[in-house]
Amino acid sequence: MSIIKATGICKTYQRGREEVCALRGVDLTLEPGEFVSIVGPSGAGKTALMNILGCLDTPSCGTLTIDGVQVTGKGEAELVKIRREHIGFVFQQFFLIPTLTVGENIGLPLLFSGTPYDPAKIEILLEKVGLAHRADHLPGQLSGGEMQRVAIARALVNSPRILLADEPTGNLDSVTADGIYRLFEELHRQGITVIVVTHNRELAQRAGRVIAIRDGCVVAGS
């Protein structure tokens, strides 16, 4: 069974009086454990698609199922639950809370899912992202690449089956970006479905499949 199945997804945004069509009928099927890149020019609708796949936004038309569960038409309360249980998010601007330690930042989703904070589990995640024994550091003491690794660990804390990353290496140099991609590859090997938006063609090729988007339509890789 596919882990993500999107059919005929459209999204129109209201910008003042003008209607902007960000997505025009996107069909997409992802199998569990796939590693997929999404590429396309700026304004093509990559972020719009990621937001819909990640249940941060609802499509104007079309249907979406995640892990066999019909998502379209569900209210915000149910979407929150799906995000919590199935999806990990990584952003271009890490979004770490500066007054929380690395460990507390990683544990933040546990606060919302009502799971007790377990230092041992956090340490395992830190090891996984290559930051062992750094739980007590503050984000300000880390490099950009290290902060993104913390953000990835945070996305993994609720053991989601899907990891969505929107330009995760956009703020990083190529060597650091390479490290982050190696991490994605490792997660992919462990069976997590990884979807990464990137502008970097070389990095995009490292995924098992490259989906190209232009003007709100999938033009390759669907």
Binding site: R84, F89, F91, F95, I97, T99, P109
Partner: protein, 389 residues
């Protein structure tokens, strides 16, 4: 970690701003607390002081009720007099237990006004059970003797046994007693036997006022009606005096309360503005939290907690500051009201403290609810794009 500690950590991100907001709340609560405790304490102390006067009403010459009020409170001179006949009438009135004649005179020495009370010790002392004298009190028929208040004794460096020139003729008078500090105006007065005061100031047969104690407070009204039948006499009851003072204080109080309302409104607007600002800055972070599993409820509770932390802390600090600075505040208030009882009127009232805390919490809820609601219902996609409005 929980939402509470997350709120604390969020407040630590802008320490200066957080502290300023807390200070704003603290000032408003301190003013509120001081004013409320003043209102309650002032009336209580005033009533207590009126009770300690020992008499229920004062018969004064007709036409001088306001002078009479001042006279009771500060000492002073009324240019009109009652006579011994009036005293006899007063003593014969039903329900009168004690009728004590008073002759008040004033003289100025070295630019400072002095108040002299001519009194009859036999009737005056039962009215003033609180009086304790160092040395002894005079009897009704002694001459060239006086008892003075403790403040006066200290200022003039006098003690039992001192002899001072006194009166228009500068006759030698012996201080035979000094009153122990009573905390009332009595501490500033000279007390002479009535007959002696009448002789020295050439007011034989005259008295300024008659202090009357009723056998029961219920009879005060009947007694005053009866006494006012005497053509010369006007009656001022202590209840009227208290009422007059409370009226004057009441208008001063309304003014102070408008000040506090303005202070609170400004403080509330400040808190709300600070919150909106801090939420605005964190819009994208709120979006991130929603993306990683926070519901609107979590975000709302987080922001309300931040607000409550600010206002509750501000409230506690404000109350502590008001208690610590109550001396200062009292001095300030004393300068503003027409009559200040001698007892302290800022007191440690647990109900008032609880009330002010509840107020602080209420203020937090009031100010926090809009920013919290607004960010709780923000769509995660819009929040991540940083779209707040």
């Amino acid at each position: 970690m929980n939402l509470f500690s997350l709120a604390v950590k969020n407040l630590q991100r802008r320490k200066g701003r957080t502290l300023l907001t807390i200070a704003g709340v603290a000032i408003a609560v301190a003013i509120l607390f001081s004013l409320l405790s003043f209102s309650a304490g002032y009336e209580r102390e005033l009533t207590k002081e009126m009770d300690s006067l020992g008499f229920h009403l004062l018969a004064v010459p007709k036409g001088c009720p306001y002078e009479a009020t001042t006279l009771i409170l500060h000492g002073g001179v009324i240019p009109k007099y009652l006579t011994n006949e009036d005293l006899v009438r007063a003593r014969a009135t039903d329900g009168v237990v004690i009728a004590a004649p008073l002759l008040l005179q004033q003289f100025v020495k070295d630019g400072i006004p002095h108040i002299v009370y001519g009194i009859e010790p036999d009737v005056m002392l039962p009215l003033k059970p609180a009086w304790k004298v160092e040395g002894r009190f005079f009897t009704a028929d002694e001459t060239h003797v006086m008892v003075i208040g403790s403040t006066l004794a200290e200022k003039e460096n006098l003690m039992p046994g001192s002899v001072i020139p006194f009166g228009p003729l500068q006759e030698p008078f012996t201080i035979i007693g000094v009153l122990k500090p009573s905390g009332s105006e009595d501490d500033n007065f000279h007390f002479l036997p009535l007959a002696e005061a009448q002789r020295v100031f050439k007011k034989e047969g005259f008295i300024t006022a008659i202090a009357v104690r009723a056998d029961d407070v219920k009879h005060i009204h009947d007694i005053s009606v009866e006494l006012e039948k005497v053509p010369d006499i006007q009656v001022v009851t202590m209840a009227q005096v208290t009422g007059t003072i409370m009226n004057i204080v009441g208008s001063a109080r309304s003014l102070l309360f408008s000040v506090i309302v303005i202070a609170i409104v400004i403080s509330a607007a400040g808190i709300t503005n600070t919150l909106l600002m801090s939420v605005n800055e964190r819009t994208r972070e709120i979006g991130m939290m929603k993306a990683i599993g926070a519901s609107g409820y979590h975000i709302g509770v987080l922001l309300i907690t931040e607000t409550l932390l600010i206002t509750t802390l501000g409230g506690i600090i404000g109350i502590l500051a008001a208690l610590a600075g109550s001396g200062l505040i009292e001095t300030f208030v004393r300068g503003m009201v027409p009559y200040a009882p001698s007892g302290s009127f800022v007191s440690f009232d647990p109900i008032l403290i609880a009330g002010c805390l509840v107020f602080s919490i209420g203020l937090g809820l009031l100010c926090g609810i809009y920013p919290a609601w607004k960010s709780a219902r923000l769509s995660p996609m819009e929040a991540i794009r940083g779209e707040w409005e």
